[in-house]
């Protein structure tokens, strides 16, 4: 499903050059639930962002669903992300000016859908994460766990084949973290969604199919 080949990422500032990723190659199968671990600063987020086409690698090739992504322009990348990928972030990144339902509808705005379809799909996604009764709330009126569930609903509303989650439980206590983890496991199990998750939590990582460890930008396991 996702194939990374010799991915290298160099960050250049005026004074320093950081090699954030050093020749990483990775093959992720359809329906796989993969977790990535490693010490802070080792390049986990960088890798996930490159996988999600949010950032371009300095070297190497990314194929998603057997499609080369290298030559795509801004518009093509946007469309590709919209169809294939869903993102979950550590700090939720909900739009506080919009109600929960409008937040979840967001990915559908960039597709050919009617307002009614959007409404129905968003409500459905929210029901799936157990927030059917919070549609009209604003993000600030929700707990951290609830916010992350809204973020998951937003990530799955467009029914993407791949979900990329960067420390989705990083800001939550273990009870709420487990809830989120359950939702992700169910998604993977029931809908066959391919999931790549960055985590600091060994327990969570062990619940997934495969664990990849990074150290200083290189894959060690």
């Amino acid at each position: 499903m996702i194939r990374l080949q010799n991915i290298e990422k160099v960050y250049r500032t005026d004074t320093i050059e950081t090699l954030a990723l050093n020749s990483v190659s990775l093959d992720i199968a359809k329906g796989e639930f993969l977790s990535i671990m490693g010490p802070s600063g080792c390049g986990k987020s960088t890798l996930l962002n490159i996988m999600g086409l949010l950032d371009a690698p300095s070297k190497g090739e990314i194929r998603i669903d057997d499609q080369k992504t290298g030559g795509m322009n801004d518009k093509q990348l946007a469309q590709f992300r919209n169809k294939k990928l869903g993102f979950i972030f550590q700090s939720y990144h909900l739009i506080n000016d919009l109600q929960v339902l409008d937040n979840v509808e967001l990915p559908l705005l960039y597709r050919d859908t009617t307002a009614k379809q959007r409404r129905e799909l968003a409500a459905e996604a929210l029901a799936k994460v157990g927030l059917a009764n919070r549609l009209k709330h604003f993000p600030t009126q929700l707990s951290g766990g609830q916010r992350q569930r809204v973020a998951i609903a937003r990530a799955i509303v467009g029914k993407p084949e791949i979900i990329l989650a960067d420390e989705p439980t990083g800001n939550l206590d273990s009870a709420m973290g487990n809830e989120i983890m359950e939702i992700l496991l169910n998604l993977n199990r029931n809908d066959g969604t391919t999931i790549v998750m960055v985590t600091h939590d060994e327990n969570m990582a062990h619940k997934t199919h495969r664990l990849v460890r990074l150290f200083d930008g290189a894959q060690v396991q």
């Binding site: 962002n49 946007a78 169809k83 869903g86 967001l106 705005l109 467009g158």
Partner: protein
């Protein structure tokens, strides 16, 4: 899609109350100023009561004589105007009138200020004053130096009070009684060449209208048969002036021109300075500064406003918004803001014009909001919205997703 933009725009405007206020204030205030200015210009230059035949009229309202050291410039004498325009072949009629002059009169021992103006009989043919009663004086009455007067509606009300008709009654000005033979609708004082409270035959003037000096208190309007006569009349007048001898040895040149309304209206009284140039430049600079400053201010506010939303930008991009779509979204948001400002500005303008009219700052001047002015105002708003939105929108759309999400 548009509905969603609208939703988020309103939400953002509500949350950023201070920015919203500053932006809206900037737009609506600027708009109000521009509306009042255009209403004013439109009234003064565009309103053609009572000179409805402006397109085939030329105005002569100044003569300048200049030598090495001396220069004299003023309105002209009755003799000069009637003598030299009398030699012209193209004009079908020539209106000659003095500039309005103030005096006092008394009604029931109460002093009121009146302006009076002397005219010839053709004045009433060249110009289209609206008579609410009576009629203008004719050639015979002028030749006879009849003490007859035409007064403005305003004068009628002030002098006679609320009466139906005043034709046949007497009005006193400068210790002379004149018989009222007509009442005309008011002319705003901004049309200073034609404004007056009382119009009298020039032959009743106490000053010597027969004096052969070039300078005096009069001006003339040449009326052609069609707009096509304008260049002909101009050329004819120029050639006559070229042959007019100087009055005194110390002068070398005599200048006088037959100008179109706008040119004569803004005449500076100096041959070397074009009034049109000065007025147009002044207005342009004024408008430019008055629109530029708020635009810069808005651009600035917009950049801050948009950069604050980098997380939103990052999320939208991650979930499939292209840069183009985002630029479009922010432009729509900005247009909503400016259109809102435009509506508020329009309402403010109506109030401002109403207040100006009511305060009676300028005699007989009734400013009104007309569709041209409204159209200009809304157009300015739209340009504002685009100008102040394009740059910030473009800048933020270039933001890298990862950077946007980190901020």
């Amino acid at each position: 899609m548009l509905k969603n933009y609208f939703k988020i725009a309103i939400a953002v405007l509500k949350r950023r109350k201070f920015f919203t206020f500053i932006s809206l204030f900037g737009i609506s205030f600027t708009l109000t100023i521009l509306m009042v200015l255009t209403a004013f210009i439109n009234k003064v230059v565009g309103d053609n009561y009572p000179d409805k035949k402006r397109d085939r009229s030329l105005y002569i309202n100044r003569l300048q004589e200049s030598g090495e050291e001396n220069m004299m410039s003023s309105t002209l004498s009755y003799y000069f105007l009637s003598h030299y325009t009398g030699m012209m072949k193209t004009p079908v009629k020539v209106a000659i009138s003095s500039m309005f002059k103030g005096t006092n009169t008394y009604v029931n021992n109460k002093k009121i200020a009146v302006n009076f103006k002397y005219t010839n009989a053709e004045y009433w043919d060249v110009l289209d004053y609206d008579f609410t009663e009576g009629k203008p004086f004719n050639k015979q009455q002028v030749t006879n130096a009849d003490r007859v007067a035409i007064i403005s509606e305003d004068m009628k009300r002030q002098y006679f009070g609320d009466v139906a008709t005043v034709v046949g009654k007497y009005i006193e000005a400068d210790n002379v009684d004149y018989r009222v033979i007509g009442v005309v609708k008011n002319v705003p004082v901004t049309n200073y060449m034609l404004y007056s409270d009382i119009y009298l035959p020039y032959t009743v003037s106490k000053e010597d209208y027969k004096s052969k000096g070039y300078l005096g208190a009069y001006m003339a309007i040449l009326l052609g048969n069609s707009p096509g006569d304008i260049p002909k009349m101009q050329a004819e007048y120029e050639s006559i002036i070229a042959r007019v001898p100087v009055e005194r040895k110390e002068f070398k040149h005599v200048y006088s021109h037959a100008n179109t309304f706008f040119r004569s209206y803004v005449d500076t009284g100096n041959e070397k300075q074009s009034g049109v140039f000065i007025v147009v430049t002044a207005i342009s600079i004024f408008v430019f500064i008055f629109t530029l400053l708020p635009t810069l201010n808005l651009v600035n506010i917009n950049i801050t406003r948009i950069m604050e939303r980098s997380s939103e930008i990052g999320v939208r991009k991650a979930f499939g918004a292209s840069s183009k779509t985002l630029v479009y979204q922010f432009l729509v948001e900005n247009l909503i803001l400016t259109i809102l400002g435009g509506v508020i500005g329009t309402v403010l303008s109506v109030f401002a014009l109403y207040a100006i009219n009511n305060a009676n700052l300028i005699d007989n001047l009734e400013l009104s909001i007309n569709f041209t002015v409204l159209f200009i105002g809304l157009l300015v708003c739209l340009v504002f919205g685009l100008l102040s939105g394009v740059y910030p929108a473009w800048r933020m759309s270039k933001l890298n997703v990862v950077t946007a999400l980190k901020a």
